[in-house]
Symmetry: C2
Subunit: 410 residues, 2 copies
């Protein structure tokens, strides 16, 4: 059986994702498609637009067979950690193929880039340090250093492009973990990762879709052309039940309260709060009346916007450096939590269950682990972004929601 | 000069307070009246209806000459700690008279009660322990134990009445601190401390006034007969500027967020979280969609409502047992913060300034102390109860507001 793995956030699932899933299935000749998906807080350091269960359903209705959660300790993280967690999960689930979207669209340049870097490791890391000493952000330093060692221009993946960077990390993780997974890549269609405006055609970036949702008083009409019918139905249903789409602004009061009630020392113990950022946070928070305003005050050349957003997520969830260290014990994910499946995914899961090296969780009460505790805490805090009358229901959902089932006979 | 001290919360200042102030001035033949007033969070474990500056103005316009703040470390506390802090401040400010309101109305029974208890100390404390072992609250155990040693019934203050209890603690603190202050008491008029309904006549309890304010969509018409014109003007002005009256419900989301993001162990380090209350808090918070609901879930025979509310205040401000211990170093208050004055209060303050044993604060930037840090933190968190667009202003108010001045020529 050909098992295909995808690493996703689906925030929300759109036509670009659908295209990628179709092409990936073809490339891998997939019998079963597994998506590992961020839960509550995402790689860019933002709360998910809507809960993991709804996003898992979008994936299943669009053709995924099994959706599992990428835990908090990997999801709101820099690309390399994010990749490590996701690749380890797919590997343990027996995926033979990983297919990611990239600007490049060919897989060899990624392997070439890794090789080139490893052959020039010393000068590469020296160069990164030099750029950072000049006050540059880590990703900027990486990308500039990469350009300096890029002797075989054209045959290496261009690591200045956001999806190429992620893909590079996926391939690196596969190699580092000694996985036998085969990497594929599909060229992304026109919509850029960061594009904010809705394009013509039927493919738009998730960024532009979220922007349209929030700018249009959370109406969905504008985004209809860019998402599968199933996504549209799920988003509309969510909205009709009186649920909000979640964004940072809903969490800003808690973040503000939190920073105001913590000492500088306590703040400096939070994961990703480095180099005196606690002081910057403490002084900026008193001047800001929105998350956007806070971010504009925090931003410097030294840190990317997403790096700072991720830091804010960890402040919001009050995740300390020590907790993160305890929870990420070794590179591989310590458990797999099932978010949803169809009959084919369930059959596959049944067939590998016995040989799985780590616990498979369908009920969070049955298992304890520091990383799972962080997931539950993140979910509790995610629930606080809902209107008051919805909070108790959402607080319970994390514990009570069974895996989503799609494609079963009634 | 006869200096009169009053211990107050003025939440809000009403006709009963005015009557008490007038009678106290007569009893003490006062030349100068000093009120020591709780700042942001009060003895009953509630946020103040409106900020200390507005409440200080009410006091000054009604006849106080000087208003100073009772710091957080004393204000949201059981009666004995509250009394210790307040009495020590008045004593250091040179007050020769303390006059409190009581159900009893005569001062000798208070001294008698103290004498009687100290003569029966052993059996009194044994009795308290026994009642508490039966699961009773501390105040209930105190009051029942007092009844058992009350051999001279009629000549002792009735320590089952709330204002008598406070008065008893004031007199005890005076004696314990070796202060030369003379205690007086004025009988409270008909309105009971805990009365919730507005009475006929012009004197109502602060509890019933707050209830009327909140039940009537924060309109003030209903309470007009029960407050001095100056109070009414200040409350109306506050409201007209688009400010809310603060209550626990405005802070409930932060409390909920806070409990959800803290571990049981962290919670148990919070001041007043004792005997497994952290578990009760953690389980109740997930089921409650309002502060009222939470309190109903938390309440047991073992703890009074106000004791639990105070605990919630400390959870909200995240004040640990250790922080409280560091901040209350010795019985006497470590500084005096001036909230407001009239020319006579200012002259008096000028005359004693040189001989004051502790710093006099009119600008919080000029002084550092763990207890002052807690005041500032409490004020920051108090600010979070305001609507979003008012928060930054309120966050700055604590640092920028000079003492209120009343009765000066323009």
């Amino acid at each position: 059986m050909n098992i295909l793995g995808l690493i996703v956030e689906y925030n929300p699932f759109h036509n670009g994702h659908f295209y990628h899933m179709q092409e990936s299935k073809k490339a891998a000749k997939a019998d079963v498609t597994i998506a590992v998906m961020s839960g509550t807080f995402l790689q860019r350091g933002e709360p998910a637009l809507l809960p993991k269960w709804e996003r898992a359903r979008m994936a299943l209705e669009a053709g995924a067979d099994l959706v599992v959660e990428l835990p908090y300790v990997y999801s709101s993280q820099k690309a390399s950690t994010f990749a490590n967690g996701a690749v380890s999960i797919l590997d343990m689930l027996g995926a033979a193929h990983l297919c990611f979207g990239s600007e490049d669209g060919k897989i060899e340049p990624f392997y070439n880039a890794i090789k080139q870097i490893s052959q020039n490791e010393q000068s590469y890391s020296t160069s990164i340090k030099q750029y950072m000493n000049q006050g540059m952000s880590y990703p900027k330093a990486l990308s500039l250093s990469f350009e300096t060692i890029n002797a075989l221009k054209g045959e290496l993946a261009d690591l200045t492009k956001p999806n190429n960077i992620l893909g590079f990390q996926y391939v690196s993780s596969i190699l580092e973990q000694g996985s036998l997974m085969k990497a594929h890549t599909i060229q992304r269609t026109s919509a850029g990762y960061h594009d904010e405006a809705l394009p013509s055609g039927d493919i738009a970036s998730a960024t532009s879709l979220r922007k349209a949702i929030f700018s249009g008083n959370e109406t969905l009409k504008e985004i209809k052309p860019y998402v599968p019918e199933s996504t549209y139905r799920i988003l509309s249903g969510w909205s009709k039940e009186g649920n909000p789409f979640l964004s940072w602004e809903r969490y800003f009061p808690y973040l503000q309260y939190n920073v105001l009630s913590m000492s500088g020392k306590e703040l400096s113990e939070i994961y990703e709060v480095e180099e005196g950022l606690e002081n910057r946070l403490k002084s900026s928070i008193k001047e800001s009346s929105s998350f956007q305003e806070l971010m504009e005050r925090l931003k410097t050349k030294r840190y990317t916007w997403t790096r700072l957003q991720r830091m804010c997520v960890h402040v919001l969830t009050r995740t300390t450096k020590r907790q993160m260290e305890e929870a990420v014990n070794g590179e591989r994910c310590p458990f797999i939590r099932v978010l949803g499946m169809n009959p084919s995914g369930q059959r596959y899961l049944g067939s590998i269950k016995k040989n799985l090296k780590i616990p498979l969780i369908t009920n969070v009460h049955s298992f304890e682990h520091p990383a799972l505790s962080l997931d539950l805490k993140a979910a509790n805090i995610y629930a606080m972004g809902f209107p008051k009358q919805k909070r108790i229901t959402r607080l319970k959902a994390e514990y009570a929601t069974p895996p989503v089932r799609v494609g079963y006979e009634e």
